[in-house]
Symmetry: C2
Subunit: 426 residues, 2 copies
């Protein structure tokens, strides 16, 4: 398995015949379409059934974007940007640019300074835009697209249409209408896949391909996950194991999960994970609150709280077994910093010691620990990892008797906002 | 006051004569040096007593760095980097460079790829280094400095010493010894100011000045805060008010505080705040767990959990009254995105509506709300804000009967790590 799960406690004693039966029932209901929210289970078989022609079309479009532009501005919010952002950051080596175009996100905030300065930044560069919105009416990205569409038309005139790519509903919606009218290239947000499960659709794939990464490898990792994680094997299926552990820890009085990473590249996988689990489970007064830390820097920050603060936390470490570039500690003539004892060790080995030391320290402080190990940070592994999380999240929410696929609470601020802003009809 | 506090509940009924007396006792003990951890209260009168010659010397050194270098690599972890990082990010307008040198942080992680690629990145640029460590033996920055010192000496030979700036203990320590031996310019980490309270010392000021920001304005904001917030006035002192509210909410069953910002520039003030409060309060099985969100993007992520998840959260909004650059929504010929109702409104106004709408939504979902309002994002305001947090944090921890100024839990992973790595003596 590409993801391996370890637990600081006794996992075996958490697995009862009743629990296994509940999980099997959940699996059956997802398969036969009777689970809550089954209309949004399109992500489940997506990696094995994605249209090869769609993948080719995305790759060709990505090539075209790379030829015509230096920068691709990706307009989206929530699931329309977190998936591609997570993959891009996980794959990007520090201080290196991607081989394709530079990706800049917009429409995830309402900020005049951000948009205004972005447009100034774009002035010296060739630009393309990918606007991603199922309805075309979500306020934040719609505002950003208004300004950027105007910018593109002023700058490129009629030719702007060749540089604007729309990812939206197949059949209806404001953005689809504009795309048809202006003859923008179009990609589809499937009806049966919600935003936070959309990273393997055009929503995530077009920006990732444009940046120069292999969406074939990403999808093949996801497909392997889909196939390997299909059976409810409590002994060997890491998605089932992670769901069982989370459910157990939540019920045992640990309502806060801290995802700890030791590689800065994974910090947006953390943000994606927060949306996935927080938005899927945080309903009806229930759910684990997802938080994140980057060690070892945060060992000198939230580490103190984790070690000794209020006991309501469990941690999930993401362990990356092998990193690419590395450095080896050398013997120094003057050992005033007292680091010569590390000579011959790679920094990845030292980082591994930080991880093991932290695990022991936090365990002794009363923090249960789950460890997810992955082999590397490449497209295939990240594809596998994200599918693993999506599947495990579904089981985890169903174990709480929560529909993982709706987000009723997101509407409330929108309705208030429309009223405050005097939108007609509110 | 530069920071104004608002609360969704009835603040007045939380203030009793007993509580006021407790707070006055805390203030008295801090003043006469009998409070727990009083050896580390040097930050309290620092803004009003900082040596003008030190400020001049930092400014002159910053100018020298700007003349000799394109990039200043700042090596530090925890309080040795979060303060300057928070200020730099808060002041930096999106897509704009600072007027001074580029600042890149190192030594906050153990990553060979990061350091190796950083050195490649530096190859085409003129470089200076500021290494910040009280003892010189903290593993992460010590490793980074070993590699970067070697890099600088290979690249600049004897002249490397003119480009390396050391911020360390005044009297002793490994880094001081090296600085003396090599004749590096030196700045002092005061003995009576801990890392998370050190932003107004040379630790924070040198990188901030080198980046081109006004440390005089930063310090004058902090000094005004020191003077305005000195008295225990529960009606008018925002530091006292914030401490009272946090203490009340913690005891009322809300152990998680979410600091919500609506400006991306404040996300590292959030990281600094997490260290300040988490490391000061998270002891003896007590303390509020500090978490953070960036709205409106996270309204499409953790927003669902905040609205409907497990009820243990309160929120603290940071409201910025005025931003600099902005854009105004225009009437469009084709209103297919249905945004014409916003015509004439600035994006800052729309963002204000998002904030008000979110406050109402989350309140109706059972999330108590504190709002901290600040006028702008400039040096003076940020200086005031950070001092406000530091002072309020001290009161808040003392109200929990916690010493705000130690961090016993940070040592545990270090001891384990030295053992695992076979450091002599462990």
């Amino acid at each position: 398995m590409t993801v391996n799960v370890n637990f600081s406690g006794n996992y075996q004693e958490l697995v009862s015949p009743e629990l296994t039966e509940r999980l099997q029932t959940i699996a059956n209901k997802m398969n036969d379409g009777t689970a809550a929210g089954s209309d949004f289970l399109g992500w489940k078989n997506w990696p094995s059934t994605i249209d090869a022609e769609l993948v080719s079309r995305i790759q060709e479009t990505a090539k075209k974007i790379q030829q015509q532009a230096d920068v691709l501005v990706v307009i989206g919010i929530g699931g329309s940007y977190l998936g591609s952002k997570a993959v891009l950051e996980a794959l990007r080596e520090p201080f290196k640019s991607a081989t394709g175009v530079e990706i800049i996100f917009a429409g995830h905030l309402v900020s005049g300074a951000y948009l205004k300065n972005l447009m100034t930044y774009l002035d010296g560069k060739e630009v393309a835009v990918n606007v991603i919105s199922k309805s075309g009416k979500t306020t934040e990205p719609a505002i950003a697209f208004r300004f950027l569409q105007d910018y593109m038309e002023k700058r490129y005139g009629q030719k702007a249409a060749e540089r604007i790519y729309v990812t939206t509903d197949a059949e209806k919606g404001a953005l689809l209408d504009v795309a048809k009218e202006k003859d923008y290239a179009r990609f589809v947000v499937p009806d049966d896949i919600g935003g936070r499960y959309s990273v393997f659709t055009s929503v995530g794939l077009l920006p990732i391909a444009a940046a120069g990464y292999s969406i074939e490898s990403l999808l093949s990792g996801a497909k392997r996950a889909e196939q390997e994680l299909v059976e409810v094997h409590t002994d060997t299926n890491p998605a089932i194991q992670y769901a069982i552990l989370r459910d157990h820890l939540y019920r045992a009085g640990y309502p806060v999960e801290i995802m700890a990473v030791f590689e800065e590249r994974l910090t947006f996988v953390q943000e994606w994970w927060k949306q996935l689990f927080g938005e899927s489970e945080g309903k009806e007064g229930k759910g684990i609150f997802p938080a994140s830390v980057l060690y070892s820097t945060d060992l000198h920050s939230l580490g103190q709280y984790v070690q000794d603060g209020k006991r309501m936390l469990f941690e999930t470490f993401v362990n990356v077994e092998s990193v690419g570039d590395d450095l080896v500690m050398q013997q120094a003539a003057n050992d005033s910093d007292e680091l010569n004892y590390l000579a011959g060790k790679s920094l990845h080995e030292v980082n591994g010691a930080v991880q093991q030391a932290t695990a022991e320290a936090h365990l002794s402080g009363g923090v249960p620990l789950i460890t997810l190990s992955i082999p590397a940070l490449d497209e295939d592994t990240i594809g596998y990892l994200l599918y693993f999380y999506m599947l495990s999240c579904a089981y985890s929410a169903y174990l709480l008797d929560i529909n993982p696929f709706d987000q009723p609470g997101v509407e409330e601020y929108k309705v208030n906002m429309f009223r405050i802003l005097n939108k007609p009809g509110y």
